[in-house]
C-alpha cells in the first residue's frame, strides 16, 4: 500500500471522519439517484417501445434487472468490508457491513418479486426452478442468515466480528453456488429457460435499462452511507465528538439516527 492510500484508508477507518466526510458522498449519491431512477423508470415504463413477443409485461425488467445486479454486488461489498474488519480490526467496516445487509436483502427481494410477477405472464407460473431464480433465492438465504446472526448476538463487537467472518465464508461459497446451480440447471432443461436469456434489445430498450441500473446503484450507495452514518452516531453516542455534535448545531442525522439504526 502506498503511503497516500494508507492515510486515506485509515482516515476512513475513523468513525468521526466517516461521519463527517461520508455526509458529502451521501448527498451526491442521493442526488444522482433522485435524478436517474425516476428518469429511467418513467422512460422505460412509459416511452420505451413495446416488446414484439412479450408485449408490455417485459417492462418490469427496468426494475428487475437493476435490483438483481445491486443485490448481487451488495454481498460482495459486504465481504470486502468483512475482510477489512477482521484483518485491520476496523470498527467502521463492521458498521458498513451490518448497515448494508438489510439493503441488499430488500433489493434481493425486489428482484425475486418483480421476477415472479414477470414470470406469471411469460412462463404462466409464478415460479420456476431456473438457475438465476434459484441462485437468487439462495442469495436471499445468505442475507437472511447474516441478519439473523447479527440480531441474535447482543454484544456489538462480537456481532460485528461474527458477521464479518460469515460474510467472508459466504463469499467464498457464492461462485461455487452460482457454478453449481448453473450446471445443475443444464442437467434438467426446463423448456422455459430460453425466456430468461438476454433478448438482444434495441438501443431505445436498453438505454433506459442502463439509466435504471446506474440509478439503482446510486440509490444503494446513498442508503449505505445514510444507514452507516446513523449507526455510527448511535454507537458513538457517548463519545465526546458526538456529544458536542448533538449539543451544537443539531445535525439532522443525530435525531433520526435511532430509527435508522433499528431497522
Amino acid at each position: 500500500m502506498t503511503a497516500v492510500f494508507k492515510r486515506w484508508f485509515h482516515r476512513w477507518g475513523s468513525p468521526k471522519w466517516f461521519y463527517d466526510r461520508g455526509r458529502r458522498w451521501q448527498h451526491i449519491f442521493t442526488f444522482v439517484a433522485l435524478v436517474m431512477v425516476p428518469l429511467g423508470v418513467v422512460w422505460g415504463l412509459a416511452f420505451a417501445p413495446v416488446d414484439y413477443q412479450q408485449g408490455h409485461s417485459y417492462r418490469i425488467i427496468y426494475l428487475h434487472v437493476p435490483a438483481a445486479f445491486v443485490a448481487q454486488s451488495c454481498y460482495i461489498m459486504m465481504a470486502v468490508a468483512g475482510v477489512v474488519s477482521i484483518v485491520w480490526r476496523m470498527k467502521v467496516a463492521d458498521v458498513v457491513l451490518i448497515s448494508a445487509a438489510p439493503i441488499g436483502l430488500s433489493f434481493c427481494f425486489i428482484a425475486l418479486f418483480t421476477g415472479a410477477v414477470w414470470g406469471k405472464p411469460t412462463w404462466g407460473t409464478w415460479w420456476i426452478w431456473d438457475a438465476r431464480l434459484t441462485s437468487m433465492l439462495i442469495l436471499l438465504f445468505l442475507y437472511v442468515g447474516i441478519m439473523a446472526l447479527y440480531s441474535a448476538i447482543e454484544d456489538l463487537a462480537a456481532a460485528g466480528r461474527a458477521c464479518a467472518l460469515l460474510a467472508i465464508v459466504g463469499v467464498v461459497n457464492i461462485p461455487i453456488i452460482k457454478y453449481s446451480v448453473d450446471w445443475w440447471n443444464t442437467l434438467h432443461q426446463p423448456a422455459s429457460l430460453k425466456l430468461t436469456e438476454k433478448p438482444s434489445m434495441p438501443a431505445e430498450m436498453w438505454m433506459p435499462l442502463l439509466v435504471c441500473i446506474i440509478g439503482f446503484y446510486a440509490l444503494f450507495l446513498a442508503l449505505v452511507f445514510l444507514r452507516t452514518r446513523n449507526e455510527i452516531i448511535r454507537r458513538e453516542r457517548r463519545t465526546l465528538w458526538v456529544r458536542s455534535l448533538v449539543a451544537g448545531t443539531g445535525v439532522p442525522d443525530a435525531n433520526n439516527s435511532g430509527s435508522g439504526a433499528q431497522s
Binding site: 439462495i138 442469495l139 438465504f141 445468505l142 437472511v144 442468515g145 447474516i146 439473523a148 446472526l149 441474535a152 448476538i153 447482543e154 454484544d155 462480537a158 466480528r161 461474527a162 467472518l165 460469515l166 465464508v169 459466504g170 467464498v172 461459497n173 461455487i176 453456488i177 457454478y179 453449481s180 446451480v181 450446471w183 445443475w184 442437467l187
Partner: protein, 223 residues
C-alpha cells in the same frame, strides 16, 4: 499431537456414553425416508427416479440437525473455556471434534443407506455412485456445519440460525452429488461431479477448521 488423540478419544468416549446422540441423526434419516412412501406415494414411478435425491436430502437434513450437539454441551458445562485456556491449537481441536462428529453421525447414515436404497427402489447399479458421493459429500457438510454451529453457539434459537447460515452453502454439495447419480442413471459420465465433490472436500478441510476456531473464540468471548 498427543492433545489431538486426547480430544478424539474423549469425544469418542462421550459419543458412546450417549449413543442417543448419533443414533439421533440416524433415526431421523430412517424416519424421514420411511415417511416419503407413506406421505407421497409408494409407486415405483415416483420412487425409482426420486430415490437418490430423497436419500441425499434426508442425509443433509440429518446432518443439519445433529450439528448443534457439536459444541453446545462443551459450551454449557464449561469444557470449551477449558479448551481455550489450555492454549492448545484450537483449529486442530476443532478439526478433531468435527471428525469425530462425522464418524458418529455421518458414517452411520452412509452405512444405513444401502438398506434404505433397497426400500426406496433405487436401481442397484446406482448404489455405488450414491455411496461414493455420500462418502465425499457428507464430511463437507459436517465441516461447513461446524462453522455455523460455532458462530451461533449459545445464541437464542441457535438451531435455526445455524440452518439459515449453513444451508445455502450446502446447495453445491447436494447438486453435484445428486447430479452424479442422475448422470449415472442417464448412463452418462459422472466422474466429473465426483471430482468436484473431492475438490470441495479438500477446500473445506483446508479452510473450515480455521473459520471454526475463529468462530469459537468469538462466541466464547461474548458470554
Amino acid at each position: 499431537m498427543s492433545t489431538l488423540l486426547t480430544v478424539i478419544r474423549h469425544d469418542m468416549k462421550l459419543a458412546f456414553r450417549r449413543p442417543a446422540d448419533f443414533v439421533n441423526a440416524l433415526a431421523f434419516f430412517v424416519i424421514a425416508l420411511t415417511l416419503f412412501p407413506l406421505g407421497v406415494s409408494p409407486e415405483d414411478s415416483f420412487l425409482v427416479p426420486a430415490a437418490a435425491g430423497l436419500i441425499w436430502v434426508a442425509a443433509l437434513l440429518a446432518t443439519l440437525l445433529s450439528l448443534n450437539q457439536l459444541f453446545e454441551s462443551d459450551a454449557q458445562d464449561g469444557t470449551l473455556e477449558q479448551l481455550l485456556v489450555s492454549g492448545q491449537p484450537l483449529f486442530a481441536i476443532a478439526l478433531c471434534k468435527v471428525a469425530v462428529h462425522w464418524v458418529v453421525t455421518g458414517l452411520p447414515v452412509i452405512l444405513m443407506t444401502p438398506l434404505l436404497a433397497v426400500m426406496l427402489q433405487l436401481p442397484a447399479d446406482l448404489l455405488p455412485v450414491l455411496l461414493v458421493s455420500m462418502l465425499l459429500g457428507t464430511p463437507v457438510l459436517s465441516l461447513i456445519g461446524g462453522i455455523g454451529s460455532a458462530l451461533t453457539l449459545g445464541l437464542r434459537g441457535a438451531h435455526i440460525i445455524t440452518s439459515l447460515i449453513v444451508l445455502p452453502m450446502y446447495v453445491p454439495v447436494l447438486l453435484f452429488a445428486t447430479g452424479a447419480v442422475l448422470s449415472a442413471q442417464a448412463g452418462a459420465e459422472f466422474d466429473g461431479q465426483l471430482a468436484v465433490l473431492g475438490a470441495l472436500l479438500a477446500l473445506a478441510l483446508a479452510l473450515a477448521p480455521f473459520a471454526i476456531a475463529a468462530a469459537l473464540r468469538i462466541s466464547v468471548s461474548q458470554n
